[in-house]
């Protein structure tokens, strides 16, 4: 869309003018110069979710990933250490790795045969006499900071800055809730990823992930034909809350609704009689605490800027351009819960990805939104819902009702602070 705002007519920074408490400007989703600035200030600076340690379980395993627009190889070296290497030969820029995944101790550039260990170190190049030496001070570039939490691997191109745990802040507790659903306390992402090309700005997705206003409308078709109990969780009479977790993270906390019913496994849309082995393993592991865990279920949390954990599935939002992104989605796999894992794959396959009975409809909305944002007027996207009834909970977090835009406002506060940084 065209920015009709006259930059000279208002005081404050660009982002001060584009991001208000109750509305954000449409150009944030469509302007290529803003997208370029996001790459620098968010994707190549902040902590960004890349993949999971279980995708490279064995020494030598590697998998290609994207961090922002960057082609990154996630590797595990022979000592078991994880690396995020840029897939670019130090010689002339060719790709050193062309397979999506595999196992290799080294990558050999097909152009001139330069060879790198899977920790990025340059081990050799042909015809060394042309360099007058056998060693060169070159290597595959690496993402300078790599850290993980419950095996979720994040990278940051900033050599210094907040630690991953500082970035995750209160969202770390939601990831703890996910891991706690495993009888062994461990999560894996080993079911492979669906890749869904989406003609919409990545922020429309990040905002939607904890938007409790849309499900009854966008997903009414599938809730209706399956008799799903999800719909009422997102209504004005729901006891669920939308919580701004800080640092741009937010959640739909559905626990108040599940506690009201007090039925183990209702969160998973089933009953304990259908997953007896899992429930027994959880009770053996957690004792009296097990009932609460089995009733409350998993988190529904959007972790800024690109990791969305929706109870049983995980999404990685990859930006491509102002008007395009790719959704990567997979099923959560809980170590020690084979009975549940099969069901999670089956439910996820039904729900997510290009033909998913939930996500294909979300994606249709994203794409129509993006098209609509090309309208000349109105210029603004409204994010005021629930401002009239926001509260601060006992832990100091801002919370809104189940259908309120509290999470979006938290997202924009973090976005603005990152974009205004030098």
């Amino acid at each position: 869309m065209t920015t009709v705002i006259n930059p000279a007519a208002d005081s404050g920074s660009l982002y001060d003018r584009l991001i208000k408490r109750d509305k954000v400007h449409g150009s944030l989703y469509t302007d290529p110069t803003i997208f370029a600035e996001e790459l620098r200030k968010i994707w190549y600076r902040s902590w960004v979710f890349v993949g999971h340690e279980s995708e490279v379980a064995q020494p030598g395993d590697y998998v290609r990933k994207r961090l922002g627009l960057q082609d990154v190889i996630m590797t595990r070296d022979r000592d078991g250490e994880l690396h995020l290497l840029l897939n670019r030969c130090a010689h002339r820029g060719n790709q050193v790795c062309d397979d999506a995944r595999g196992n290799a101790s080294a990558f050999r550039c097909p152009y001139h045969g330069w060879t790198y260990r899977n920790n990025g170190e340059l081990v050799g190049f042909p015809f060394f006499k042309g360099y007058g030496q056998r060693k060169l001070d070159l290597a595959l570039a690496r993402v300078p900071r790599v850290d993980s939490y419950h095996g979720f691997v994040f990278g940051s191109f900033a050599a210094e800055g907040p630690t991953l745990l500082e970035h995750l802040g209160s969202a770390a507790g939601e990831m703890d809730r996910l891991a706690r659903l495993s009888p062994e306390g461990r999560v894996e992402l080993t079911a492979g990823w669906l890749q869904h090309r989406t003609r919409a700005n990545w922020k429309l997705l990040a905002e939607n992930e904890t938007d409790g206003y849309h499900p009854q409308f966008v997903h009414g078709s599938i809730f209706g034909v399956t008799g799903s109990t999800i719909g009422p969780l997102y209504s004005d009479s729901s006891a669920a809350v939308t919580r701004d977790l800080g640092n741009g993270h937010s959640e739909n906390d559905l626990r108040p609704e599940f506690r009201r019913f007090g039925e183990p496994m209702r969160w998973f849309g089933t009953t304990e009689s259908r997953v007896r082995e899992y429930v027994a393993a959880m009770r053996a592991k957690h004792g009296a605490e097990a009932e609460r865990i089995l009733i409350e279920g998993g988190p529904h949390v959007m972790i800024f800027p690109n990791l969305f954990i929706a109870e049983i599935q995980v999404f990685n939002i990859q930006p491509v351009a102002a008007g395009e992104c790719i959704q990567h989605s997979t099923a959560v796999q809980l170590v020690g819960a084979p009975e549940l894992n099969r069901r999670m794959v089956s439910q996820c396959v039904g729900s997510v990805g290009p033909a998913g009975m939930l996500l294909a409809d979300d994606t249709e909305m994203y794409e129509r939104n993006q098209a609509g944002l090309g309208s000349l007027t109105p210029e603004w996207v409204d994010v005021r819902r629930g401002l009239n009834r926001e509260e601060v909970d006992e832990n100091g977090f801002t919370i809104g009702g189940a259908t309120d835009e509290t999470g979006m406002r938290g997202f924009w506060r973090q976005y603005k602070s990152l974009m205004e940084a030098r």
Binding site: Q195, A331, D361
Partner: protein
């Protein structure tokens, strides 16, 4: 990706009782019903033990453990169609305009089925042209069908299995709202 069916376990000789012309007409009909969104007639083609599978990354892995674009048993086919019939399956409302071509139809062999008979396994290439508001797109790939004799006097053909291996299923795919 090629469908290396000849080496797949459980595949026997091509059963005798399938006429090539009749089978081809059946496949063309299935394609037309999908193109035209005739959900009732399309649903009626399937057996009760149906499987409709669109894998990713080539032939796909073990579908109970790996993600697929579609992995529908008969029950889920029914759910998918019921959602489409609501008219509020927005990924397909308004519906795509579609036409597809089938070609390179090969009788690949026979496979024992739960009814004690032998299903005919057929491979075919396809190219589908889709038009919708977001633009047009070509979908291409290889489909493996398992066709069963059913109905009174076993004169009808039914679809027991349809696996659609898209040529670009290792790449990001746009929304696939129609029946491929």
């Amino acid at each position: 990706m090629t469908t290396a069916v000849s080496t797949e376990a459980g595949l026997g000789p091509v059963p005798d009782e399938f006429d090539r012309h009749v089978v081809e007409q059946f496949l063309y009909r299935e394609a037309r019903l999908a193109d035209e969104g005739d959900y009732d007639a399309w649903e009626a083609l399937w057996t009760n033990d149906a499987l409709y599978w669109v894998p990713v990354d080539g032939e796909g892995g073990e579908p109970q453990q790996q993600m697929s674009v579609i992995y529908d048993n008969r029950n889920r086919i029914s759910t998918r169609l019921a959602q489409l019939r609501t008219g509020k399956r927005y990924a397909q409302a308004p519906p795509s305009n579609l036409r597809r071509l089938l070609s390179n139809i090969e009788f690949l062999g026979g496979r024992e089925n739960p009814d004690g008979g032998v299903d005919l396994e057929v491979g075919a290439n396809f190219l589908a042209f889709e038009s919708r508001a977001r633009g047009t797109r070509l979908w291409g790939g290889r489909t493996t069908y398992r066709i069963r004799r059913g109905g009174p006097d076993l004169q009808d053909l039914l679809l027991a299995y349809k696996k659609v291996v898209l040529v670009d299923n290792d790449q990001p795919l746009p929304t696939l709202g129609f029946l491929i």
